[in-house]
């Protein structure tokens, strides 16, 4: 701890007052859209002194008086060289010209950038330019799905929402949209993420070596920024697909200074379902109509207030709705009966953020964010039964409504101070107030309503962070950080956490480096999941007097090398410990969330370790990658597996990802990806013994078959998650054509999900065979699914 403090204090910008040195500062933008470019590189050609732009495209470099030659580069853009004579502090506005294709940049540039950029181990940057080159799945270029091709990142069961990073669970990923955390980030049960590609500017993904400005989650950070909007001309794009269709428009409010962006996306699946069900059941008395829909709205306004102040307003709203309507009309001799049952589930996020960028001077940059967000999950089942016998009519009605909600208001300030070292000293303050409603159920019957509620819980989170990178000579650098957070729950208890962050880099040569990092993370919010399936309907709960915040410590060590400008290799190992992770106690589930929900939760530990390697190759014709992960992931709860360590439900020993994007010609490109994961662990022993005879006298039925289950037998599980299900693997193909006509850009995508229709296990259950023996059955979700989409932009 003393080392951190010494390093941080040493980093304070005393050198601000140094003599004979002047600062070059400014913004780097896209020449066509005016969009500020994050992480663009600047370096002085002779001395090698350099920096990169911050998240708002701002940079600041200090040189001794004289002439300097600046090289400016960014993936997807033509590099620039500028000669400047420095006699005083200088303000620069640099506009980079976009290249036509990503691959051309790869070959021409010196930085050997490939498909995903990773300057630091455990960190990946994806720019807007790269996003447009991502492989499409089901006609959608999805940023979250694309992260799954990275080593150390896996998906859970097919159809489950969320990503699993280095042994963490989906709730342990901090997913930020314009600095505001989102709780539900997937649609269609994990098939599509909530991020509309056309509205996204860039993405940063961290699975280790976390900067101190990030906190509140244990395993990863996905920091996504929306586009600011084109400052020079209006642009519109329309996308039509089987999964979803979108409309995006952006343009200047004041040319060159202020802009807007608006994007709306909606699935058409519900209309297809309703149409098919309507035709198929046209003349039937009994009708069942299923429907699923989702929508996203993104909006952003970017206002230049004056030379030093910029205001941004971001808005996002996304919702999913799953519904089923049932109606039946029965006519009897003495009357008729009408039954109607409607069930629906809906979930989604709304967020809004107001950001003020202030550049106090050439070395001091400040960003203040005021944000609000709401996450909602609810379901509503209503039913009515009307029986008419002659003149008599009897009505029965019932309703069941369930709701879970999180409301948050946040305020934070991030400050970048640039000293002579050209690596900014960053610090910030943050505070957020949240109100949680873990679960509330309203049951109505013939006008009378009963309410069962967990009650609302309020929490206040606040703290500060410090972060600084030091260049120690030509080969060595250290990044230090410290995050200090407080979490105050319901005025009952305040938790205090110190989270040190440290990473060392040894640059062996221009093309090879070693890195080691250590980070402590704290998470005051928890996700309660029902069994093995990650659903958007899982419940978020806060820490309480009984339930402590989760903590993790992760140590990683890695090596990366650019073997050739177009060929990159990285190898990384990690060890992570988790504390105070939670789980429902055995046999409890979501419907058990009532006033006593804290009593139905147990806390335990986790440990995860593994090694990851990936190799990427890029040429003018194609980009390809291969990644392999070897991992272990275990949990320990006092009440489970007799208190011994056991494999976590997402423990997958091996993961392999292979992919290729091949540019067939000027118009056509083809993508093929293949993913493999070892089988998931499951608890099924096939062993049982006689329970106490007659202990239980009621019948229970198998969920799938309806057959009676013998309740006099006790299932015996010598090991929790002791067996392995068959491996998960699938191949996806896509073919797309891009062309221009009459000043409009067209893109046609044809893709096939799960080309060889692999039946990956989703659920496993026992079934009695005709000969009386018991066998295992597996249920799979997604077979081969072809899709097509068309996009036009002008």
């Amino acid at each position: 701890m003393r080392l951190f403090i010494i390093l941080l204090v040493a980093s304070l910008p005393f050198s601000l007052f140094a003599q004979q040195r002047h600062t070059v500062s400014g913004y780097i933008t896209d020449s066509l859209t005016g969009e500020r470019l994050y992480a663009a590189n600047l370096s002085e050609q002779n001395t090698g002194i350099g920096t990169s732009t911050n998240r708002f495209g701002f940079f600041s470099l200090t040189f001794p008086e004289g002439s300097v030659t600046l090289k400016i580069s960014f993936v997807g853009y033509e590099p620039q060289t500028k000669m400047i004579s420095i006699k005083c502090d200088t303000l620069l506005a640099i506009a980079l010209k976009s290249n036509n294709t990503l691959n051309e940049i790869v070959v021409k540039g010196n930085s050997s950038k490939t498909f995903f950029e990773n300057d630091d181990l455990g960190h990946v940057k994806v720019s807007a330019k790269t996003l447009s080159k991502l492989p499409s799945l089901m006609g959608e270029k999805d940023v979250m799905k694309s992260l799954m091709i990275l080593p150390g990142v896996q998906q859970g069961n097919e159809g489950s929402a969320g990503i699993f990073v280095r042994g963490g669970s989906p709730d342990q990923n901090l997913i930020l949209l314009d600095d505001v955390p989102l709780y539900n980030v997937s649609h269609l049960f994990g098939f599509v993420s909530v991020f509309t590609p056309e509205a996204i500017n860039s993405l940063d993904f961290y699975k280790g070596g976390f900067p101190a400005r990030y906190g509140g989650r244990l395993s990863s950070v996905v920091d996504i920024r929306m586009k600011d909007g084109n400052k020079y001309k209006r642009e519109t794009s329309i996308n039509l697909g089987l999964i979803s269709s979108q409309f995006t428009t952006e343009g200047p409010i004041k040319k060159g200074e202020s802009s807007y962006l608006f994007s709306i996306r909606r699935t058409l699946l519900d209309l297809i379902f309703k149409g098919v069900a309507g035709i198929a059941q046209k003349n039937m008395d009994e009708k069942v109509t299923p429907a699923y829909s989702f929508n996203d709205i993104n909006a952003k306004i970017n206002l230049k207030l004056n030379k030093n102040n910029h205001l941004f307003w971001s808005f996002y709203s996304g919702n999913d709705k799953l519904a089923i309507d049932y109606s039946n009309h029965v006519t009897t001799i003495d009357g008729e009966e009408n039954q109607n049952t409607n069930g629906s589930m809906h979930w989604g996020n709304v967020m809004s953020a107001l950001k003020l960028n202030t550049q106090f001077n050439s070395r001091l940059f400040l960003n203040t964010t005021l944000s609000g967000s709401i996450f909602n999950y609810g379901n509503l089942f209503t039913g009515s039964n009307v029986v008419k016998r002659g003149e008599n009519e009897t009505k029965n009605a019932f309703s069941l409504e369930y709701q879970s909600q999180i409301r948050t208001i946040g305020l934070k300030t991030d400050v970048d101070i640039y000293g002579n070292s050209n690596q900014p000293f960053q610090f910030g303050l943050f505070m957020s107030a949240s109100n949680y409603l873990p679960g509330e159920q309203q049951v109505g019957k013939n006008g009378q309503t009963d309410v069962f509620s967990s009650g609302e819980i309020s929490s206040l989170d606040y703290g500060f962070y410090l972060d600084k990178r030091f260049e120690l000579g030509k080969h060595f650098s250290i990044r230090t950080g410290l995050r200090n957070s407080f979490c105050s729950i319901r005025d009952e208890r305040t938790y205090f956490a110190i989270e040190p962050r440290l990473s060392f880099t040894f640059k062996k040569s221009e093309n090879a480096s070693f890195q080691a990092s250590y980070a402590v993370m704290t998470q005051a919010i928890h996700l309660l999941s029902n069994g093995n399936i990650g659903m958007p309907t899982d419940i978020w709960v806060p820490s309480t007097k009984i339930i402590h915040p989760e903590t993790s410590a992760i140590f990683s060590l890695g090596y990366k090398q650019s073997i050739r400008p177009s060929l990159k290799l990285s190898v990384e190992g990690y060890y992570k410990t988790l504390d105070h992770v939670i789980s429902f106690t055995e046999g409890n589930g979501l419907l058990d969330v009532d006033q006593n929900w804290e009593q139905k939760i147990s806390t335990g530990k986790g440990r995860c370790w593994g090694a990851e390697t990936d190799i990427k190759y890029s040429s003018s014709k194609f980009t390809s990658w291969a990644a392999y992960t070897l991992a272990w992931n275990e949990r320990k709860f006092e009440e489970i597996n007799q208190g011994r360590w056991y494999p976590y439900q997402y423990d997958r020993r091996h993961k392999i990802d292979l992919g290729i994007i091949y540019n067939l010609n000027k118009y056509w490109s083809a993508t093929a990806t293949w993913t493999y994961q070892s089988g998931a662990p499951a608890t099924f022993s096939g062993l049982d013994f006689q329970g106490f005879p007659g202990n239980l006298k009621y019948r229970i039925q198998d969920f799938f078959t309806g057959n009676a289950i013998d309740n006099s037998r006790i299932q015996y599980y010598p090991k929790v998650n002791g067996i392995r299900l068959p491996a998960y693997h699938r191949m996806d193909l896509s073919l797309s054509k891009e062309w221009e006509s009459y000043g409009k850009k067209h893109t046609l995508s044809i893709s096939i999900y799960n080309v060889y229709s692999r039946q990956n296990p989703y659920l496993v259950f026992t079934k009695t065979k005709p000969d009386g023996s018991i066998g295992l059955k597996q249920f799979s979700l997604f077979p081969i699914i072809p899709s097509i989409s068309y996009r036009i932009s002008f």
Partner: protein, 364 residues
Amino acid sequence: MKKYIIIVMLISMVSCIKDLVIPFEKSDQTTVVNCLFSEDEDWQISLTRVKSFSDQTDPVVDDASVDIVAENNDTIHLKYKGEGIYYADKRPVKEIQYQIIIKANSKIITAKSSIPGSVNISSVKITNQRTTYFSNPNLSDYDVVPFSLNISASNQPTFVRFRFYSFNTDWGYKRYSVTEQTITTLREKGISEAFLQELSSLIGKSYNSFELNGLLLKIADKYQLTYYVYANIVNPEIKVTIVNYRSPDAFLEGMIFANSNLLSNVSRDTYNVLGEFNSSTEADLFVDYLPVLNKNGDTSYKEEYWLELVGMSEDYYKYEKSYIKQVVNLSNPFSSVVEVYSNIQNGVGIFAGYNRQMVHFYDY
């Protein structure tokens, strides 16, 4: 060609359920001890081994040495009587701790428990004739009768289980049996020999009407007897005997509910109310109104309402609670597995004491 492509795609999209070839584990030879003891019965324990799903029957342990050691060091040796059952002609005494010591298969298996002190129940009051109870875990309404009672015990803490039974005075005293005469008469009436052969296996046993009906219908269904033949030819030949005592198997178990800090149902179970308390306390319970609804105003007989109260050792309580949870969750493929509690060292199962009482608290 198009037609074939469509057929292939449809088949691949609907064939989402298939067999999974994962071999069942072979029995790991873990010994299963089953012994719930009370002052009302002689010592008796069952020793078997964990069975694989691929095995047809439970492997029994027939060569074990079984001793019960009381806290005053009195030792009772249990004798083997077949089918894995070991017994002694002695009864346990309440509030004395016993240790079972089993030597089997080169292992020593042990467990400890005692019969808790008796639980007193008083002031049972029906507070309303009929109301609706909403079971939150089941999201369902039930027609019930609410009542309250006082419970107290000397042991601290005390673990209890309530069950509800109804006794129908119309058929509860009647016992039904299949006799040699039944078989002879039915043979004369031309009933198939295969049916009669299986029916003969019921000779010498007596049942209440529900039990016998269930058994007969099963056999009739197996040999494809029509319901007409069953109701008009077979049923009249069943011998009916009137007895002057309430046979235990004539009590019908009904649903019982509670939802308080002291007493509650476990998960979605509706037939057991479990609880733990530290002192004398008043409890609110709800029992099934269905027997009265079925009575439909008939005044020629009574529906007697009975409450079974079991005072349990803590081990029995944990076993019962986890057992119910496991069984309830077996029907839900999305739920996590539940391990059933065991207090057996080097084995599984249960060795636990209890006391039991039946309380007749109302007549309809």
